[in-house]
Symmetry: C2
Subunit: 421 residues, 2 copies
Amino acid sequence: MPELELVTLPNGVRIALDPMPTLHTTAVGVWQRVGARWEKPEENGVAHLFEHMAFKGAGGRDARQFAEAIEAVGGVMNAATSYERTSYYARVLKEDAAYALDLIADTLLDPHWAPDDLEKEKGVVAQERGEAFDQPDDRVFELHQQALFPDQALGRPILGVDETLAPVSVQSLIDFRAAHMAPERVIVSVAGAFDRPAVLETITKRFGDLPGRAMIPPAPAKPAAGISIEERSLEQTHLVLTWAGPAAADETMYAARLMAEIYGGGMSSRLFQEVRETRGLVYAVDAYLDTMEDCGRLGVYAGCAAKNAKTVALIAADLLMGLAKDGPTAAELQRAKAVAGAQLMMGAEAPLGRAEARASQLFLRDRLIPFDEIRAKVDAVTAEQVAAAAARALNGPVCAAAIGPKSGLAAASAFHARFAS
Amino acid sequence: MPELELVTLPNGVRIALDPMPTLHTTAVGVWQRVGARWEKPEENGVAHLFEHMAFKGAGGRDARQFAEAIEAVGGVMNAATSYERTSYYARVLKEDAAYALDLIADTLLDPHWAPDDLEKEKGVVAQERGEAFDQPDDRVFELHQQALFPDQALGRPILGVDETLAPVSVQSLIDFRAAHMAPERVIVSVAGAFDRPAVLETITKRFGDLPGRAMIPPAPAKPAAGISIEERSLEQTHLVLTWAGPAAADETMYAARLMAEIYGGGMSSRLFQEVRETRGLVYAVDAYLDTMEDCGRLGVYAGCAAKNAKTVALIAADLLMGLAKDGPTAAELQRAKAVAGAQLMMGAEAPLGRAEARASQLFLRDRLIPFDEIRAKVDAVTAEQVAAAAARALNGPVCAAAIGPKSGLAAASAFHARFAS
């Protein structure tokens, strides 16, 4: 059986190869350690705009020719920009893995853009921003992010704003790329069925002579307590409520994940049972752990009638305090471990999720972590560690955002006040 | 190698077993031929409410105990109601396949509900409806559905309305179940890694003595030309534009799927290239084929600035007329076949999608269809058949819905008018 393998090129580009030999397809991608977090205030939106432009001209192909090249082999290619990462990835048949990697390399290493394509793409991004603004459950997360990271790149919208996007030129994109295309910040990840020599040859040929560049560390995250509200004529009030969480590579992350599951992750969680099953106040309610390089947050999203928003927010607060005080029951801890273990197995069967997980492991820990090791760490978590994870969450800044009818917006300040006393 | 297998119980319940022996997990589910399409006007929403109640009391467990039972083995269970089907499914580890099927059987065969749980669940559904109403890209599809199927169950919202949900009692749900729980309308589908004897034993034990019932055929679908608009203060205008399409089991469905792909499916499609890449008018634009038992539609969804809505709608109309007139190029047809073939392979690697596809095959064609046979049918489609599929789409009723600022809503009537001349 071929094995999970890390190959590091002499220039520092890392390659994760994760063979799934019983499949007929593969996921390939390049994950780059760059995103909105590295933007100066006047550059806001440039990382995302760069990613959009990647497909507009690369390797001698225009946008149409590029789309035709990937679809000629039945492939699907996409890209995404977050605060800390930008990814370009494709799903293809086994025999097309090296071909797809070559196309992705073109977007990153051989871009060529016409100024009017850039102006048109600014129009597309403006539509993307309009769409996100119109979705209350997207917009409430943006409001929350602004409140949690005031006056920081992490608090500015990934999609940018008109004022910063309007002046962006082709040269601005080239400069942004030049600053951030460092070999240590590039990970190529392949999971599924593939021809190892062909894949390695293509990656080495395309990424092997990427020159070194000075590393640019992002400014440290400074999450703050805050409140952000927006009145809108809606049926529902949408809430995002957060506390502190561990950074992504923190060893307490395993306990924090189980804590989030017990608190509000699944159907049997305390939050779901109380606000949906027992009280019927919400349709959607969910707790989540969002981790970054140097900080994290435990959060709750809920959508409910305005008249119930305050009740939902206070229940969310009280249930977390209860978990910190009393810890989980043995049955809760067993279930959370079973869920984490089963999700690990299910996730391991999906090539794209697996390729992305491998890239993440390399960014955060500089090594590939066998699933058994993760499983063992999850299984070793104790009830005390779960309670401690909840207590640590409560120790950090509390941040709340709400969008909806005026009468529901006081939920955000009521939530905040619960922790001031 | 274990093989794909259809087992029919003496009472008519059909079982699809699709072994994927290299996996460690499985997807199990029951697909029932029932949904909003079977509701009388005064019952609107009852199929969906029934599905919600399934988890509120089954096999002697209340909602909390039921959630705990599935999460104790790390499983994830969910359910969904459409116009023609209701499904209850779970993802679990290999060794828990029979256990999960037993839990699903409890929801369908051994429900027990407290009247107050029903009232609480009506509150949850009210929140679900509020959430869908607030999302413009959900709401525009609901508006479109109303216009396409006037005065029919197919045109009423799956989630129901206050007036029809308020009087629903526990007895109404029991009666609805009694009317529709016919063995011929139940398919149990299992895809992934599982112990065949254990799974078959559980299914036989639970579903083998389901008594026969008179079949209730739904009223034939009568899609109509129509327009539905809703003014809302939004950044974008959201459009749904449709023509006719084949029914799900129609042999022209393969040609229609390739036609939809070439017209507006992928990044290299005519619609995406024209309205996004060439003109920069939209972020999201997509053509889709939606098939039902006795009708279908080719549709386009787009979100754009109000001032561009009419342009987008007319381009969508003209591009379809062009495809019907001139047919696809050889390269377009080759790409569409490559995409369809690769998607078939990728889909085949995901257990839940595979279990659902098997259930669909049994409902529509009463047999399990090997992937090679589907692939051969796709590959046999000619350019003439694609052009004919586009021409047939244009021959049926044209229906348009728009939501957004007042100035963009005229796009719906302009689209309609394009086909009146």
